[in-house]
Amino acid sequence: MSEPDVLLEITDLDVFYGDFQALFGVSMSVARGCATALVGANGAGKTTLLRTIAGAQAPSSGFVRYGGSDITAAPPHRRIARGIALVPEGRKLFPSLTVEENIQVGAAAAASPQWPLQRIYDTFPMIARRRRQRASTLSGGEQQAVAIARALAAGPSLLLLDEISLGLAPVVVEGLYETLSGLRSAGATLVLVEQDLRRAMDACDNLVCLLEGRVALAAAVADVTRDQVVAAYFGEGRS
């Protein structure tokens, strides 16, 4: 039933934190080589969805299929070995490790050696200069670049990015998105959570809007207007 070019397919996902239900029957699919923007208000379940795809959160029902096989119950290290890497919200670098050590840890369960250190440093020259520094001494933009580098070190086929522009200066965000478009032209599949709707729609082919844990809108960016997305974002037009 799933088409051959579908890399990730999520079906009827319910996710709970204790008694609190964060996702209600969420389904979406991501085609190989596509970029999908995940938008929605705070608390809509975007981070939960990414963490569930990465294996940090277990769904109470529903399926996650990746590359044609069911990975719903697979632990994070298995998913990384199959090519799913997450850049977590808030960067979450290991503060006492150096920049280079952070990246090396990311390569610990690597799916493929397509991102050796040298290629990472060529892609992010600003962190190459800081490779021996502790991650906690870097600026926000540099830390975000290291967080992306750490995920790339795992050689992912599917890269999940959670609010990489959070708290960063626009010029820094611009640089990060340029890097992402470079990754896209190299064939990476991306799912990214982004608060800035314009940026999300510029950077992605598809868009999924979550509203209170449910999919309010799923469409190709070319097929929707900004107003339609905003309406889905705020739940306007619901009966």
């Binding site: 294996g55 632990p75 994070p76 997450l86 977590p88 503060p95 050590e101 090396q104």
Partner: protein
């Protein structure tokens, strides 16, 4: 010359404390488990040394290639079967579990080995000593214990700083959730850390048993000194643990030179003083303290 001698003997004694303490420091630094059975595990190591050396009829040193892997395996098993499960139920559960383990070990040892004090056959090394000058005589056994402590601490530090295993351990100590997320398999990693901790405890136990005597309840005293060495040195700092152990040893012997009755009291007062003045220990960096404070607040 008495004072110089006291300081030297104290430093050597401190090496033994550091050897016991490094496993405690490692388990707490990485897994956030205060292992209250650590001293008892050291004493188990001493009893195992006793059993092996009398069965084989050799000095206890010869049994180490057998004893240390057994201790490592025991550490693996304890982490996988006991501590790891306890960790899933908050911070208090591991404390209760290790306390229970401590009580169980002490009572099982009393049943199996009676409460008679024992000693380990250390061979010719146990009695040999050499003179430096005048009144200063150094026991080869004490010196070996001290050098072993330095070697174990250096080895651990090298492993932690320069190997892929060490990187993973430090990353996990920083943030266990993110470590899982980047693909580190935390369960087996914790098991190897616990294995190393118990192996170093058993090694320390062998020195305790060779230098002095031990009985099933020795573990509790051992634990207190090890715990104080860790706290004085600063939690998570291995070299700090060595300095902490030496500070304890020197205080104990120097005060003992004045009046033996106050030696252990002085050690505990030193511990109290350090806790009051520098609650994070002598070698905890400000950054670590800031992060700890941040975690507490958040």
């Amino acid at each position: 010359m008495n004072w110089v001698n006291a300081v030297i003997q104290g430093m050597l004694l401190g090496g033994q404390y550091a050897l016991i303490a490094c496993g405690l420091s490692l388990t707490f630094g990485v897994m956030r488990i205060v292992n209250l059975a650590h001293g008892d595990l050291a004493v188990c190591g001493a009893y195992l040394g006793l059993v092996l050396s009398s069965a084989l009829g050799v000095p206890v040193w010869i049994t180490l290639p057998l004893l240390l892997p057994v201790a490592f395996a025991a550490g693996l098993a304890l982490q996988l079967l006991l501590f790891g499960r306890a960790l899933r139920h908050g911070v208090l559960a591991p404390v209760l579990v290790t306390f229970g383990l401590s009580v169980m070990i002490e009572n099982l040892l009393q049943v199996a080995a009676t409460s008679d004090p024992r000693g380990l056959p250390g061979g010719s090394l146990a009695l040999a000593s050499f003179h430096i000058t005048g009144g200063i005589t150094v026991s080869w056994l004490f010196l070996t214990a001290f050098l072993t402590a330095c070697a174990v601490l250096s080895g651990l530090q090298l492993l932690l700083s320069h190997t892929s295993w060490g990187r993973k351990v430090r990353a996990t100590a920083d943030d266990v959730d993110t470590a899982r997320l980047v693909g580190i398999r935390v369960r087996p990693l914790f098991a190897t850390v616990a294995g190393i901790a118990v192996a170093t405890a058993a090694l320390a136990g062998v020195f305790i048993g060779t230098i002095g005597t031990f009985d099933p309840l020795t573990g509790t005293d051992v634990l207190i000194f090890a715990f104080e060495a860790v706290v004085i040195g600063g939690i998570g700092s291995l070299w700090g643990t060595l300095v902490g152990g030496v500070a304890l040893g020197v205080t104990q012997v120097v005060v003992g030179e004045v009046n033996q009755a106050y030696a252990v009291l002085a050690v505990n007062l030193l511990f109290l003083a350090v806790l009051t003045v520098r609650p994070g220990g002598l070698f905890t960096s400000r950054q670590v303290l800031r992060e700890a404070a941040g975690q507490g607040a958040g």
